[in-house]
Amino acid sequence: MNAVEFHQFTKRNGEFVLGRLDFQIYNGYITGLIGPNGSGKTTLIRSIMNLVLPDSGEVRVFGQSYRDKEREIKRQIGFVYDEDFFYNHLTVLEMKKIVSSFYPTWNESVFQRYLHDFQLPGRRKIRDLSKGMKTKFALAAALAHEPDLLIMDEPTSGLDPVFRREVLSILSGYIQEGHRSVLFSTHISADLERIADYIVYVRNGQLKFSGSKEELIDSYLLVKGPLECLQTNRFRDKVIGLQQNALGFEGLIAKEGLSEDDIGSRVTAEKPSLDDILVFTREVR
């Protein structure tokens, strides 16, 4: 069973359309959600939480529909959003009491362990916590009810590298049991390269890719070379997101249907990073 399935999901918001999405988030893996600002990542995450309602189509979580199983579905989800959403005038422990009351599966010892590991001061007010501390608390609260699906919207943005690494390590450990899944959106593709198994790539409200990270990276080559190589139209037309300067050119090229003759000996071709793919494909319609 998949953790999340989008079936012909469409959501319109003014001019912006998140359109006809058909993909799934696999159970037991970490899936990274990538795309430029305004591409629809947050809307997509909110639609999984049933905060954004589809104009047509459906989102199913653990094979169930929000129409008749809303409470059951949400009990299995932990969430961390990229914004303040706690009651700021309460202390960490007061807020914990509120969150824990909604989850029958709340594990106090797990929460206390994270509180200790993250060095969170229980008596400090939420408003007095730094952004990193708030994220730590949100993560502790999300994990303490032992959800099967953890959803995080930009959890590592604004965090220092040490804690970012710590979060990634927690996520890796969290899915070890095999039936748990993580979906997180991020702008920091290095985080995804480190831990993501699958990638969902959205741009301008359209699904550009959904599959394994290796599949995405292996479908392109990063090509660089002198400007003369671009004089043959056959090659130039294949380069995606072509960037030129006095020293030469740089761009992506899709591997599918590519032969060695297409590249030529003066062009270097290497494996792209996720960042390269995001940057060079941003203009592609």
Binding site: L51, F85, F86, H89
Partner: protein, 217 residues
């Protein structure tokens, strides 16, 4: 839904204490609103708690957090309406406690009094207020919440005054009828008024559920 009501009490602990002190200080120690029935300070106290609880849920994306918990949106709306009864009960209980405490030092005739009629009129005013307030609250959310109570008070108060004036100009003695309401005798009228208020609140709940269930958060 019980968790939501408990949550409202938890986030309001300080405001409940503050309201309790406020009622004691202004109504019993300073003797403000002297000659008024006890339902007036209780209603002001209850209204303060209900509105602050609503504002707290919209101030900091908290509404999005609540909707992400294992709850249906109908539960969230219903809890807000149930909160009216809960906070009014707390306010009336704590105001009665002040009256009992003041009764130790003051003669009974100097204390604010309870009257069924005044309680009914006060509750009716509040029920009408919340019947309008909550659908707008669930529709507009954080955009209006900081000033929503003022908007409802001025719009509804203004509209009501306008209607009363228009009726009086057409020689319908609605003003004298309203003035006679607090002194009016008889349980049936009170119950009819309260019943009407509750029906209005039920319609308001249906509207709020419809609005909130179709809203993107």
């Amino acid at each position: 839904m019980i968790q939501l009501l408990m949550k409202d009490i938890r986030i309001q602990k300080r405001f409940i204490a503050l309201g309790f002190v406020f009622v004691g200080f202004f109504f019993f120690i300073l003797g403000a609103f002297e000659g008024m029935p006890l339902s007036v300070p209780a209603a002001i106290f209850g209204h303060f708690l209900i509105v602050v609880a609503s504002k707290a849920d919209e101030k900091n994306n908290n509404g999005r957090m609540l909707a992400s918990f294992p709850l249906r949106r109908t539960d969230i709306v219903t809890a807000k309406y149930a909160g009216i009864a809960m906070f009014m009960a707390i306010a009336f209980a704590l105001t009665s406690l002040w009256r009992w405490l003041a009764g130790i030092f003051l003669p009974a005739r100097e204390l604010p009094w309870f009257s069924a009629q005044s309680i009914v009129v006060t509750l009716l005013i509040l029920l009408v207020f919340y019947a309008i307030y909550f659908p707008v609250f669930f529709a507009a959310g954080s955009r209006l919440v900081q000033v929503l109570d003022l908007i409802v008070i001025f719009v509804v108060g203004g509209a009501a005054l306008l209607v009363i004036r228009l009726l009086e100009w057409t020689n319908i003695g609605v003003g004298s009828f309203i003035r006679s309401l607090p002194e009016a005798d008889g349980l049936p009228l009170s119950l009819w008024m309260l019943g009407g208020g509750l029906v209005l609140l039920l319609l308001s709940w249906c509207l709020s559920v419809y609005v909130y269930r179709s809203k993107n958060l």
